[in-house]
Structures are given as C-alpha cells and as structure tokens.
C-alpha cells in the first residue's frame, strides 16, 4: 500500500491539528480561540490512539482464547500472527496510549474551564473578549495616566 493509505491516520491528525492552529491564530475572540485550542488538543489524542492501534486487535480487556469471543476474534487472523503478537491467543491494541489520553481528556476539560473563567473575568474588566479591543482599552488607560503603553 502507498504511504497515503498506511499513514492516512497521521495525515488526518495533521490536518485536524492545523485546523485547530488556524482557528487559534485567525481570530481575536478569546472563546473561539479556546475552541481552536480544544481542536488542537483532540488531534493529539487521535495521534496517540492511532499509534496504539494494532491491526486485527481488540480492546485491552482480557478474554480467554478458548471462549466464544476469543475464537471469534482470532478466526479472521493468521495463526502465526496471533502466535507472534497476541497475548494468550488474542491480539490486543496497546493499552498504554488509552490510559494517557483518558486522563488527558478529563484534565483537558478542567483546564478549558480555567481558560474560560479567565475570559469571563476579562469580559467583566474590559467589557469585551476581543483581544484587539482589550489592547485598545489598555492603551486608552495607559494614555490617561500619562504613561507609554
């Protein structure tokens, strides 16, 4: 298969990451910037999970090879492949990226809330969440007290 097919997931991750980065840079609205940051963060999660996928694998929850499920999962695979890469007759995907991303998602929503609460406080202090308007307000304030911005 060509690189475009074998590396399609990574390509999609790069595209999503760049969409997030674009949103982050192309708008001055703080809330929209947080959304862009969220997209960027999710793309990292997709990258980790893509790396941990094993073709023909299943979720990393132990099942017995001689059970109905175990036989069903092993049936479409080459027995040598199962022998070499499986654990106890069943091929699993890598659980380690799952653990890292699981906690990162919950931490992500917590940090998103911190960012949004800062935006709320900025709105209360400056009356806007547009970064250029905030700069204008700061400039006017600085001029009023007679200092350079």
């Amino acid at each position: 298969m060509s690189v475009a097919a074998t590396h399609f997931n990574y390509l999609a991750v790069v595209v999503l990451m760049m969409i997030g980065l674009y949103v982050l840079f192309s708008t001055r609205n703080l809330i929209k910037q947080m959304i862009g940051l969220g997209l960027f963060q999710t793309s990292t999660a997709l990258f980790y999970i893509s790396l941990g996928k094993v073709s023909g694998g299943t979720a990393a929850i132990k099942i017995y090879a001689d059970s109905v499920e175990g036989r069903m999962l092993a049936a479409p695979l080459d027995p040598d492949f199962v022998q070499q890469f499986g654990v106890g007759g069943v091929v699993y995907s890598n659980p380690l990226p799952h653990v890292l991303i699981l906690t990162a998602i919950v931490v992500g929503v917590a940090t998103l809330s911190v960012g949004l609460s800062i935006a709320v406080r900025i709105r209360e202090a400056y009356g806007t969440v547009e970064a250029d308007e905030i700069e204008a307000v700061t400039r006017v304030d600085a001029a009023r007290v007679g200092r350079d911005p």
Partner: protein, 350 residues
C-alpha cells in the same frame, strides 16, 4: 472473510476521520459561537465512535461524557457570561495564519512519513512496554481491564498527578468565578412556569438513574470499560441536570457548596492516603502489594476472595478500589464546583 473484516474496520476508520475533518472545517468557518460549540459536541461524539473502532473503549466512554456533556455545558455557560456576539471576520487576518499553518502542516506531513505503519504490531510503541502490561497484568494485578490496571496500579503515581491537576483547576475556577451564586444576586423565584412540567417530571426520574449508572461505571471499571474518571463526570451530570431544570438555588440547597468542596479534597486525600499506607506497611508509594500490613494476608482464609494462588492480588484489588473512589469523588466534585462557578455568576432570568 478475514480480509473483509479488517477492511471494514479500516474503511470505518477512514470514513470517521473524514467526518471529523469536515466537522473541524465547519467549526473553523462558523461565525456564530453557539453553532461552533454545538459542533464541538458533534465532533466529540464522532470521535467517540472512532475511538471504539480504534479499540479504545475506555477513552471513547470518557470522550462521550466529557466532550459532548461537560465541556459543552461549560462553553455555553461561558458564552452566556461574556455575551459574545458573532465572531468578526477580517480577511487580512487570515493570510498570515494560513501561510503559517500550511508551513507547519507541510513539515509535520514530511515528518509523519517516518512513523511506523498504522496498525503495525511490531512498532516500538506497541512491541515493548504496552505488550508487557498485557502479559503481566493477569499475574501481577489480576483485573481483566488492562487499561484500569495500568491507570490505577502501574501508573498510579501519574494518575494521582492528573487527579491533583483536576482538583487544582477546580480551585482555579472557584477562585476566579466564586464558589457559588454571588450574594448580591437576588434569589430566583421558586416556581418556574407550568410549561416546564414535562422537564421537571422527566428530570426527577432521570437524576437517580444517572447517579446509579455512575456507580455502575465506577465499580464495573475493573471488569470492563469504565472507572473513576468516567464515573466522576457522569455523577456530576446529576446535580448539573438538577440545576438546569430546578434552578441553581434549589441545587445548592440540596448539595451545599461547602460539601462539594470537602468532597473534592477528600478524594485527593483518599488517593494520596492509600499511597502513604503502602509506605507505612513497608512498600513504595502506591505499591498496593503492601496495602495490608505483613501477616494480614496470611490469616485470611484461602479462597475467601477468589483464587488462593493469587492472594497477593488482594492488595491490588483493594488499592485500585480505593484510589478509583478517590478519583470519582475529586472529579465529580470538581466538575460540580466548576459548574457552580459558571452558573452562579450568571444573572439568571426569572
């Protein structure tokens, strides 16, 4: 037959990723913040389905409850508070980011071609430490869900750090937005209007079920997909739904701010306390094999807790149980604290 099953999996993978890109582009082009936030919820649900295709059942669970649930609520609360209008567009401001993004993206695509093939079982990421966890878990930890074993036992210290970060973020939001409704706000009129009667009746039925489901997810986390993080977020949804339907004042009367704060602290203390108990009993920090003092395992009758050959796993089972409980308490209470912060600051319309 064999090839078809794998090809269907791969085709689903590609289709869902293309959907994610389409939703991502729509979010980037959207000028209405409300529409962008709702599309983020769609994005999370699609990525949850994709995670199932990628065998990441636990992550899919988390993404579904966090991405489509809590983060949508927090973002909606934030746009209510900032009263943001549509995002302004300025064509001059899109050129420099577009050039930058194309440049960085090109470099990343170039670097990406050096990565191992998608699904390669022999890649360095999959062949060593991840595989070792799969091989060692039945003997060393003894829980069927390897993700839980790695999360709670092998990498327990890491998880403690994540729990503390969630806790710290909760404190940060509370310090910036307040712990609950501001005292200057007039209390809401109690009765809302009869057109909410369907909502009220349905919510009354749903809230206990949501809480019950959270505990199922919590205690089933050793055996299948689930665990403290997912259960904590689901448990937090119950009071949040209550506040959305019955008003924030009613919820705070039932679940006082002080109690929520204490529960969040208690969770972190429980987690760290399990680690300290292991140290007192002669092990390392969070080394559950030393959760019980030496000699206790000898006096438990063989076969009381399953396979007598795996008596050394009792410490692991109890350790995982307690630290997952700590994670549940901290995550649930922190999410409620964050919600109280955002909702309490809003001037509610009667």
């Amino acid at each position: 037959m064999s090839e078809i099953a794998l090809q269907v999996n791969f085709a689903l993978n590609i289709a869902l990723l293309l959907m994610l890109i389409a939703v991502g582009v729509a979010i980037a082009r959207m000028r209405s913040l409300l529409a962008a936030i709702l599309l983020m919820g769609v994005y999370s649900l699609v990525s949850a389905v994709w995670l199932i295709v990628m065998d990441a059942a636990d992550v899919a669970f988390t993404e579904a409850v966090v991405g489509a649930g809590i983060s949508t609520i927090v973002l909606l609360g934030a746009i209510l508070l900032v009263r943001a209008g549509p995002v302004r567009h300025n064509w001059r401001m899109t050129i420099a980011p577009a050039v930058l993004v194309l440049g960085v993206g090109g470099l990343l695509v170039y670097a990406m071609t050096g990565l191992p093939e998608f699904g390669d079982p022999a890649s360095p990421a999959n062949a060593y430490v991840g595989r070792n966890y799969l091989i060692q878990t039945p003997d060393e930890i003894g829980v069927p869900n390897v993700v839980t074993a790695v999360l709670a036992s092998y990498r327990g210290f890491d998880t403690l750090g994540e729990t503390v970060v969630v806790f710290a973020a909760g404190i940060g939001v509370a310090l910036m937005l307040g712990f609950g409704p501001r005292s200057s706000l007039p209390p809401l009129p109690a009765a809302m209007g009869d057109h909410h009667v369907v909502l009220r009746v349905t919510a009354r039925l749903l809230i206990p079920l949501i809480a019950l489901f959270a505990f199922y997810v919590q205690f089933h986390g050793d055996l299948g997909a689930g665990g403290g993080f997912q259960a904590g977020v689901i448990l937090a949804v119950a009071p949040i739904l209550h506040a959305l339907v019955f008003g924030l004042h009613e919820t705070i009367a039932a679940l006082p701010v002080r109690a929520v704060r204490s529960i969040a602290t208690l969770g972190v203390l429980l987690f760290a306390g399990v680690g300290v108990i292991c140290m007192i009993n002669g092990g390392g920090f969070l080394d559950y094999d030393h959760l019980f003092p030496p000699g206790v395992e000898a006096i438990i009758p063989p076969g009381l807790l399953g396979d007598p050959d795996h008596a050394h796993q009792w410490g692991q089972h109890f350790g995982i149980f307690f630290i997952e409980l700590g994670v549940l308490l901290t995550v649930a209470a922190t999410m409620v604290t964050i919600f109280y912060g955002f909702a309490g600051r809003a001037v509610e319309e009667p």
